[in-house]
């Protein structure tokens, strides 16, 4: 019985840690979903741009010896600029209805950013300053890592701010209008390109924060983190339902918890394999995701 109890605590503990860490996936998923919602397109280079933001902030932190708090802000701003650049290079000038070309261009963008990072760092991981890593709270048999809790709170605040902007301001209204009816929105005098680039920049802000959060929680930044983050972000987006922000949040936390449980039982080598398998289970049983709308009317 004691063994069972011990096991139970261990499993729930790892689920809890995973859910906290899952907030980074949720943010990346929201970013993918925002861009999809606005343009109906996937920006595969998104997570790479987010990580590049984290790298830039790390560079500024080291070069100027900036205070720790600045890291998240700088990362967000850099990723927003990169997001806008990705929009310009991979989406802006490609015909609207050619989804495949835009997708392909953003895959090119993913490799480009990835390679630039590999070259700039010679492919080796860099230490990333983590915050509150000494802090440790004990709640009954459980322990809560300070850095994870901090990351979770940053994610919570960013999501809150995003939702406020999206549902309580004019900018958010315009974005949602374009997402729902781009022709009608254009007739009402909204500029598609302006709202699209704003969406990319806003998604970039979130991505930059998520990139820095990931690095802060893991303690390092490495180019090999880019692809898994991209894939998990996409998986979260699909599981949550393309275009659904609440879906992305729930799916992000869920994937975070799920992968930790798998890691507990099967080890880190097999972890990502099962996360991907989870996607297929969803594709079979709920192809529209948790909150996806079925598309009607052409």
């Amino acid at each position: 019985m004691d063994d069972f109890w011990f096991e139970f605590v261990e499993v729930t503990q790892s689920i809890g840690d995973g859910v906290l860490f899952g907030s980074t996936y949720a943010l990346i998923g929201i970013g993918f979903t925002l861009i999809f919602g606005a343009m109906g397109k996937l920006n595969v280079a998104y997570a790479a741009a987010a990580m590049a933001g984290a790298y830039s902030s790390l560079a500024i932190y080291i070069l100027f010896d900036a205070p720790l708090v600045v890291i998240f802000i700088v990362s967000a701003i850099c990723a927003a600029i990169l997001g806008y650049l990705v929009y310009l290079t991979c989406f802006r000038f490609i015909p609207v209805h050619n989804h495949l070309a835009a997708l392909m261009a953003s895959v090119g963008g993913l490799f480009f950013i990835d390679e630039v990072i590999v070259h700039a760092t010679r492919g080796s991981p860099l230490a990333f300053p983590s915050m509150f890593s000494e802090a440790y709270f004990e709640v009954g048999p459980y322990g809560i890592r300070g850095d994870l809790l901090f990351v979770f709170f940053i994610g919570l605040i960013s999501t809150g701010v995003l939702l406020y902007v999206l549902f309580r301001t004019r900018l958010g209204l315009a974005t949602r209008a374009v997402a729902q009816q781009d022709v009608a929105a254009r007739l009402c005098g909204m500029s598609i390109h302006l709202t699209n680039s704003t969406t990319f920049a806003v998604a970039g802000l979130l991505g930059g924060i998520a990139g820095a959060m990931t690095a802060a929680a893991v303690g390092i930044l490495s180019p090999v983190m880019i692809l898994p983050l991209t894939i998990k972000g996409l998986i979260v987006t699909v599981i949550g339902g393309l275009g659904s922000i609440p879906g992305a949040i729930i799916a992000g936390l869920f994937v975070g918890g799920f992968e930790n449980v798998v890691m507990y039982f099967r080890g880190i080598d097999e972890r990502d394999m099962y996360v991907v398998a989870l996607l297929f289970i969803f594709l079979v049983f709920r192809p529209n995701g948790l909150f996806g709308k079925t598309i009607t009317r052409d």
Binding site: F36, G40, K41, L42, V44, T89, C90, F93, I94, P95, N98, H99, L100, A101, A102, L103, M104, A105, V107, G108, G109, L110, F111, F112, I113, D114, E115, V116, V118, H119, L227, I231, L234, I235, T237, V238, L242, D269, E270, D272, M273, V276, A277, L279, F280, L283, V284, P287, D298
Partner: protein, 303 residues
């Protein structure tokens, strides 16, 4: 000479890989799973010749069969979603396969030596060609016989009604349904055919390169696979071949002095081409231009 032949082999294998994505692209599907099917084909064929001691042709045949079956099975859940979701699903599948082989161990002792796939360490000593005394020329010929065969079959299919049906689905799924085409069946057929060809490419690759490593089957390879037909355009199979020669011959080999910067160039190249020619380098516009130039050239010669 061997260096040259290796390049020719690589071009042949990558052409097959590109053609496997080409078929899917005809039906309007962008699949990032081709690297996964390629990997399955490679490991299957290698296990058959190394561990079970099969001949090369039966091994390739079974590998093609298995990857075709796998593509068919993957197609079911993947095709329930459309367009961009399919990209996510196939991307995830490709990574799943890579991670599977990262964890895949099957070691057996043969004549005192341990052989077989060894997880992270990869799968080395795939020595079928060496053990059976194949010369480099014979290996290259084998690969290119398959390349020419597959190109011929696809080119031929494109002249038939089946080819037109594939393209019709790619042009407009809804309209295809309303002229009586069973869109799901067509897409499944394309998916399966793509899997078979990718499996063929993989099984040739395994024996030509003699050692498999999960690093070879990343998203980069999947991107190569779709980049060939996209850059080459889907007007005909030769576009894919030209794109492979351009990327593998010129960009990867020709610019070797640039070192790792070539991959950076690859990313930039895709972005530039998609902006300038969103329908591929060899779209119908370019083809017409080439034809008119050729015609002018010929008529001048005659007169």
């Amino acid at each position: 000479m061997d260096y040259f032949l290796n390049l020719v082999n690589t071009i042949g294998i990558h052409t097959l890989l590109g053609l496997s994505a080409y078929i899917l692209l005809l039906t309007g599907q962008l699949s990032l799973a081709q690297a996964g099917f390629f990997a399955v084909g490679a490991y299957t064929a290698a296990v058959l010749t190394v561990i079970l001691g099969w001949g090369i042709l039966p091994a390739i045949g079974l590998a093609m069969l298995i990857t075709g079956l796998l593509a068919f099975l993957v197609g079911f859940p993947a095709l329930r979603v459309r367009g961009l979701m399919l990209v996510v699903a196939t991307l995830a599948f490709g990574e799943f396969v890579r991670m599977f082989f990262y964890n895949f161990r099957w070691r057996v002792t043969q004549e005192g030596v341990e052989v077989g796939p060894d997880g992270t360490m990869g799968f080395s000593e795939i020595r079928y060609f060496a053990e059976h005394g194949w010369t480099s020329w014979e290996v290259t010929s084998l690969i290119w016989v398959f390349v020419i065969l597959v190109m011929a079959i696809i080119w031929w299919a494109d002249q038939t009604r089946s080819g037109a049906v594939l393209r019709a689905v790619g042009e407009d799924e809804l309209a295809a349904g309303t002229v009586g085409i069973d869109v799901t069946v067509v897409k499944m057929a394309a998916m399966t055919a793509g899997g078979v060809i990718a499996g063929l490419a993989g099984s040739l690759y395994a024996h030509q390169i003699t050692m498999l490593d999960h690093h070879a089957f990343t998203v980069l390879l999947a991107t190569f696979a779709i980049a060939y037909p996209i850059l080459g355009g889907v007007s005909n199979v030769f576009g894919t071949l030209v794109a492979v020669i351009f990327i593998q011959g010129l960009l990867v080999e020709g610019l070797r002095f640039l070192g790792d910067w070539r991959m950076l160039l690859f990313g930039a190249l895709i972005i530039v081409v998609m902006n300038v020619k969103p329908r591929g380098l060899f779209d119908s516009q370019t083809l017409r231009w080439i034809k008119s130039v050729l015609r002018l050239h010929l008529s001048r010669r005659i007169s």
